[in-house]
Symmetry: C2
Subunit: 248 residues, 2 copies
Amino acid sequence: MPIMVRTAAALIIGNEILSGKIQEQNVELLAKELFALGISMRKIVVCPDEVEVIADELNALRCRYDAVFTSGGVGPTHDDVTVEAVAFALGRPVARFEEIEVLLKAFFGSRLRDRHLRMADLPAGAELLRSGEGGWPAVRVDNVYILPGLPEVFRRKLPILREVLQGGPAFVNRTLLLLCDEGEVADLLDRLVQAHPGVTIGSYPLWKGSEISVRITFDGRDEEAVERAAEALKSALPETLLSDRSIP
Amino acid sequence: MPIMVRTAAALIIGNEILSGKIQEQNVELLAKELFALGISMRKIVVCPDEVEVIADELNALRCRYDAVFTSGGVGPTHDDVTVEAVAFALGRPVARFEEIEVLLKAFFGSRLRDRHLRMADLPAGAELLRSGEGGWPAVRVDNVYILPGLPEVFRRKLPILREVLQGGPAFVNRTLLLLCDEGEVADLLDRLVQAHPGVTIGSYPLWKGSEISVRITFDGRDEEAVERAAEALKSALPETLLSDRSIP
């Protein structure tokens, strides 16, 4: 049974992001994945490794959006407090999950320490979500999805989300690249926004040295409406302004 | 007169980040900059291009932290609503700033459209912050710093922040790279955390194929305390676990 999700938020946990020590790499992948699933990501929050702060942020987000995806803080060291914080936010105890314990023992072999087994502790009642392709599960408890921070491991959870989540009708996206500054088409875009209310139109300048161009994006759940809006822009512009370069 | 700032938050404005269309590139630079200035960034929020949402997020952040840095939504098109939202949040009207108008006219020349001049509209009473090196100013109003989203332009504002902001005593950082999994040193790290309360210790695994290592970071405002904590870890470990590779 797929889990219906229309709106979502992400909670990125880690001092290392807030101090600029490590570049955040997961949010963009999650955003693309949710967009492709027809799920509207409405907010992203980055917070420090502090149990009460994480729990407060989580409670604010999970009451407001259908799903919250956390990233980070699930390893075996003192600064990994996400599971404790999620359990605290949800008013649940933490329990040892034998199935994860077995996976950890097989993975670490002779390097295994007791502390590694802390990664088998999850909020009681959590569900382990599996992909048809096997591999390690992802963790869901209520509407909170606890995902790892390490990008290599985070990435492996995305196929699981793809299998278990059911968004709204998929978003369709069209993009046009114009060889001008966005200010030169701003009035035209205003008229398009008025005339195509079901389509979200975005304007993103690209500066490469002295070359100025602008990427205009058209998003919506109705493919025909998105096409109509994009075609309306094309036909309103002199051909010399339209680039046929592929969009980065 | 430098502006004293101890704690900060960032508000990143843009549907394009939430939908994964464009990769966020400014937060990491801002985080590094603030860390170097001795300013503690406590929260990052990404929100959509919607006036009321932006204003609500901004008000929540600016009451809680000494400074809020916004990024995005300051161009000339319909989806650029940051200035309107900041003005709304602060209960100020929007006013035309002649000095910016002059800069815009010089920059765009014959390509200038009326719409470009909207970029000269700012919340009334805003201060234009200048670098000793010249160039375009950055915008401050109350404790809100309105910065652009375009990474090439965002970057140029950082030297201005460096000149005008005065943080706490600078943070010092030491990093060690260990050739083991973090679970193997977790107990030892617990003891270090206990013994060095003024130092923030972070543990960040690095996975490159089958090679597993871990980066241990020591942060604090007291250089000697940071050194002592790092040395305590070094002396507690067999030399074979310590890598002398430079830290990525």
